[in-house]
Symmetry: C2
């Protein structure tokens, strides 16, 4: 058995240490004689895991007491709808900043609940997003109930390096694809959410970090299971949470802390992205990397061969080197290398070397 080098965009690579732990504990978690997934979510074994996962997140994000961690089920797409269900009513306006395919979906879901105004879009006339807006390009309607942004765009490979200021308007941010890859100032956000399957663990789990005040402001005329405030009041145990996914996420968080936390992840992210973008830039005639320099994502490096027939060959030769998950999103085609936390600098270096060799051989 040799492990692949997984550049998939999500579900994505998980640190080996977390998988080994899950394997070793599969039949018997902590001498209970049961897998963690066979344990009651009200029992002491699981509750200790649940609490530890939450506390690790609080530490990793240096969460202020004004903010709390929620474990939610579904995916980010679920919360594209559940966020406006909680915070947007008919007659109110929420602002959506469109920087890619998933922010479009978020805006569309919100439009079922109230006015989901597109305050800005960086979509070019050909449907491609090549940059994120400058903070100055974002005039915020101060009467909006929230502003929604997407921190990193998985499909097109753009990322906010600095987040726009939203003034007094609550800032809701989908951080699915770069959560825990860098420090954030949680106090500046009203509601951050992230599908687990990029940087945290298995799909089916969403982690949210939210202002308690913002949660309190949510609607009460919706079923309890949809109310984030009710989830908070029940420490994410209002119903049976996805216990195995939270257990696995906790194993990833433990690895992440041992590796040096989000600052270490950020340093690695920069190094990994530099290796790959530098290799692409050094072979500018051979590869196309369409994203503007200052908007380039450190998480998802999107490119293609200038001669598009070469893309398939690139992917096949990469696969022969055990580098997988490089195929671009079905909506965009081309090539995409995702460099989430579990992808090592050595993995990125191997890819950079291959990018250079392939161009040298074919160019």
């Amino acid at each position: 058995m040799s492990r692949a080098i997984n550049f998939g965009a999500g579900p994505a690579a998980i640190p080996l240490q977390a998988l080994e732990r899950a394997r070793d504990e599969m039949l018997d978690y902590a001498a209970t004689g049961m897998s963690i997934m066979e344990q009651s979510h009200r029992g002491s074994a699981y509750l200790a895991v649940h609490r530890d996962a939450r506390e690790r997140l609080e530490r990793l994000l240096q969460l202020p007491p004004t903010h709390a961690v929620l474990f939610l089920s579904g995916g980010a797409t679920t919360h594209f709808a559940q966020v406006p269900m909680n915070f947007l009513k008919v007659g109110q306006t929420a602002e959506y900043v469109l920087t890619g395919g998933f922010s479009e979906k978020a805006q569309e879901a919100a439009s079922f609940y109230g006015a989901a105004r597109i305050s800005h879009s960086t979509r070019d006339s050909d449907g491609v997003y090549r940059r994120v807006p400058n903070p100055t390009e974002l005039p915020i309607d101060t009467t909006a109930v929230y502003v929604h942004t997407t921190s990193n765009n998985t499909l097109f490979g753009t990322q906010f390096r600095e987040f726009p200021s939203t003034g007094n308007v609550p800032h809701v941010c989908d951080m699915s694809s770069d959560f825990l890859s860098r420090p954030i100032d949680a106090a500046k956000f009203a509601f951050v959410y992230a599908g687990a399957q990029k940087n945290i663990g298995p799909s089916g789990l969403v982690i949210a970090v939210a202002s308690k005040e913002f949660l309190r402001s949510g609607r009460r005329d919706i079923p309890q299971i949809f109310r984030y405030q009710a989830i908070l009041e029940n420490d994410s145990l209002l119903n049976t949470p996805p216990t195995f996914a939270i257990y696995l996420a906790r194993a990833v968080l433990r690895w992440l802390e041992e590796e040096g936390g989000v600052l270490a992840m950020e340093a690695r992210s920069k190094a990994k992205a530099r290796l790959v973008y530098d290799a692409l830039d050094a072979a500018k005639d051979f590869y196309d990397a369409p994203v503007e320099l200052e908007s380039r994502s450190r998480m998802n490096v999107v490119f293609r061969c200038s001669n598009p027939v070469r893309d398939e060959e690139f992917l096949a030769q990469a696969a022969a080197r055990r580098m997988v998950g490089l195929k671009g999103h079905r909506a965009t085609g081309g090539i995409r290398a995702s460099l989430y936390n579990a992808v090592s600098v050595a993995d990125a270096r191997a890819l950079a070397t291959f990018i250079k060799e392939f161009a040298d051989r074919k160019g």
Copy 2:
């Protein structure tokens, strides 16, 4: 390492064979060099798992072509709300048959969307449910958009032996706690849903079996991610599904087919329930089993010691014999033995023997 005998009510025991498979494949699924949870949900490795899980369910339930399987996220509680969101509008009425705590929750969630009429309740004046209604006790309003029932009541230990006929009114049924423990005539149901963590796999996954015609009748003025019809049209891949949970469920379904399918599970269920109830009935003065004979659940055997101070001792001595998960629900107290599919006849026999011995020693 010795495995516990897990009588937990959910999350609950999972067949050893499925856990062993998950353990063995954790670092490398099918020679891909990755765990199944690290694979794209659009990739061939995962898609084969997804399809196989769906097809096994279709076979196990002998699903007619009028009906389809959906993989959903969240828990049954999520769908207490999502079902009426799809099928109930202001001005319409749905009928709820209350037979326990979870049907109360389902009715409450529905009341946010339209009239959720309690067509019948078997709740006694002390708040306890001791039986399910006879079919004749259920006068159905033929103008209702659906009738909602709960096939098995985990908290109080009651179960429909025969389902009431709902005539032309679509029958929606929460089968969370007895799904796949017996054959069902799927054609008689418009929408069956079941949280996975009792008989199918890990929490965070819900399996639904639905009439395609009923799904088509659902509302379209809700976000796509909540529309069951949209989930069906996308073969439960509208967004990233809980892939590891589906993978594990598939391993359980494979075990279930190898063991002889739902008829074999039903035969075992009867045998297991008989062993435990017979032991309780043989020590009538020592134990209280409050559920009426013909409503007794084969899944959750609810009882207590007539002298309630003995309950704690019972639980402690059982735990010393590696029998765990026997504590009653926090809302009811007492003792509860859950006999889901992964609990063997030998496990039930061990419990029955202990029930007898404990009464002999203390009685």
